[in-house]
């Protein structure tokens, strides 16, 4: 989709809760940290983002768990899971390893991508570092190619302020076509708004129209169109046909295999009760 800010619907968090959200009684009543209790969840939330953007901090703040967080890229190499309850709905939240891309060139990237792709999260929260927006948007854009139901958590706003940076979150939300919530997870700022945005996307109150990068080269655009049309014909329900086409063109064996198995058709089924487990495969012994 090309850049048309005026015609793209603006996903804004509902201001109704704005006054209440500042009241501590309201916060306590609304967020129930469930720790590792993840029974009977209504929605699954995936937490993606670049390394060292505070994903684990957001995870801990929501679940009440205390996974150690470090100022340390690559801190989370395995998936951590926890639960919370918000607005009467029970959520399971999965903290994915931090990655710079979703091209699945390493184990952690594969874990993150497979979960967003096959784990069928109802909402994918992409934690982005407000002080390094450009680098973080690379991943945001890649995630938005795969899934429509996403919320960008613009974290480390306190750091951004310290560096005198101003980030226009509403403009970014308009450009990206998904809700953008500024937060400082370490201080607990913005988490109520984040939860509200997640809840709105999960329940379908907010409908996202994610930004998808335009392909510049004419030859490529033509090839892509051809393949996308074929895929759409085979899987009319698929919302990320273009991304699948791109991956197939790039020779991505994992996606080709998923197509062969016929798993791709299920990609957009909402809230599967038993998401596919994407465990880290043991390292192949060499020599």
């Amino acid at each position: 989709m090309s850049d048309q800010p005026n015609t793209t619907p603006i996903p804004i968090q509902q201001p109704a809760s704005e006054v209440c959200a500042t009241c501590p009684a309201h916060s306590r009543a609304n967020l129930l940290k469930l720790g590792v209790d993840m029974t009977d969840w209504d929605y699954v939330v995936a937490l993606a983002g670049n390394p060292n953007t505070g994903k684990s901090t957001v995870f801990n703040a929501l679940t009440g768990l205390r996974q150690h967080t470090g100022n340390w890229p690559g801190k989370t190499v395995t998936r951590a899971e926890g639960g919370f309850q918000f607005g009467g709905q029970r959520y399971k939240i999965v903290d994915l390893p931090g990655t710079y891309s979703l091209l699945a060139t390493s184990v952690d990237e594969e874990v993150a991508r497979d979960f967003i792709l096959f784990g069928q999260p109802d909402v994918t929260v992409i934690v982005a570092d407000a002080t390094r927006l450009e680098r973080n948007l690379n991943l945001v854009l890649q995630v938005l190619e795969i899934t429509e139901r996403a919320v960008v958590c613009l974290n480390l706003m306190d750091e951004a302020r310290r560096h005198n940076l101003t980030v226009d979150d509403r403009r970014l939300a308009r450009d990206l076509g998904v809700p953008v919530v500024p937060t400082s997870a370490r201080r607990g700022e913005g988490l109520q708004e984040l939860l509200q945005a997640v809840d709105d996307v999960a329940s379908g109150r907010t409908v996202c129209r994610p930004h998808r990068a335009k392909v510049q080269s004419g030859k490529l655009a033509h090839a892509l169109d051809q393949l996308t049309t074929q895929i759409q014909a085979a899987y009319p329900q698929l919302s990320n046909a273009r991304w699948v086409a791109l991956r197939l063109l790039d020779g991505d064996e994992a996606i080709a295999d998923a197509l062969r198995r016929g798993d791709l058709g299920d990609l957009n089924k909402p809230a599967a009760l038993d998401p596919v487990r994407t465990e880290v495969l043991p390292l192949e012994a060499v020599s």
Partner: protein
Amino acid sequence: MSAPSEQREGILQLADQLRWEVGQGFHEQLMEDLYTDAARLADRAVTRPDVKERFDLDRTIDRLVTSRIWGFPMMILLFMLVFWITISGANVPSAFLSSILIDQLHPILKSAAASIGMSAFLSGLLIDGMYLATAWVVSVMLPPMAIFFPLFTLLEDFGYLPRVAFNLDNIFKKSGAHGKQALSMMMGFGCNAAGVVATRVIDSPRERLIAIITNNFALCNGRWPTQILIATVFIGALVPSYLAGLISALAVVGIAVLGVLLTFLSSWTLSRTVLRGEVSTFSLELPPYRPPRVLQTIYTSMIDRTMYVLWRAVVFAMPAGALIWLCANVTIGDLSIAQHLINFLNPAGILIGLNGVILLAYVVAIPANEIVIPTVLMLTVLVTGMSGQGAGAGVMFNAQSNADLLTLLHAGGWTLLTAINLMLFSLIHNPCSTTIYTIYKETGSLKWTAVAALMPLLLGLTVTFVVAQVWRLFGG
């Protein structure tokens, strides 16, 4: 709602055909488009400050701590400071805990057991064996851990560790290993099992195996207390008391640095023998310095690390305490089982500058390195026949001060060589059973698990043997 399989195959064929048409450079083009897009969107959203390049504190610190000249000295100084604080700060609370748990609570428990008519065997097993071993582990290990871990975590949260990785990256590459191995090694300083899991950030299987096998040389949680205690008791005693803390810290840092050197050496050897291949390149991100949230850090490092390690030590210390007490009190012929084992291991122990007690302690401590020192002390008491009030065979001596400890160990035939070789052997020997199991889970290969377990053990035996021979040749 899966599409028919011929339709699926059709899509794949079309993709293959189109891939040839779009040709090379397609992937790069895509990435470039993505980056351009991200840059444009970021540019629209972010307003940068008008003030041009004020004094940038982060960059100034980075220039200093990753400088070619100052990087390494600063690294060593910083770690020395951490150990010095740990060593000089841990003495008082250690003595306090030991006086409560061992001097006061132990006799109370013994008399309580006697008053309810508990048999001597049972009260020996439970109180002299299990309770005392646990009490020892807590009083010896808790204070240094409670000081060391928060300090280390503060450094981690501040953002210093990636700078250390940055400094070490070049040497790792020269060793034929992946630069990110510096990160898994840093994790290994906390716990080797965690370090082995952390090697997942390394993409290439060859370099990942090197990182897994050599992670053992990063001195872990379980071994820091051993190093700190032995350095304090033996090395610190060599110099006047006002220098003792500093010199002990220097000795511990020396051992840790030796571990790093061994990591390079063994990586180099592996990458030139069984694990040959190309070195991959990668980019290492230096995260911004963040003021650590001190109270929160202290809290989480107490819960996550200190209590975790302590709990693990206690869980292993209780059965080990029972086992040692049994070994010391069940006799075959006119000697206890422990005495038999020690006599059996003694010649080999002496040969490598240690003794039978230490070797037996290392066998008992395979599940957890944390209990080496308490086990050594229990067994030494047994061998020397020295014991505290109301205690019998296989009961831990209640050392009230480092001087008492030194007296006890001297009585057990320890010399400076024993202490140095114990420190060396503690650094270079097989990883604990948890780490070995983690290595098996991560590699999925018995062969590499065996290599990772036996290579350090053989190296440790070799190093201590050579040191002992050279020492005896020159020192007599």
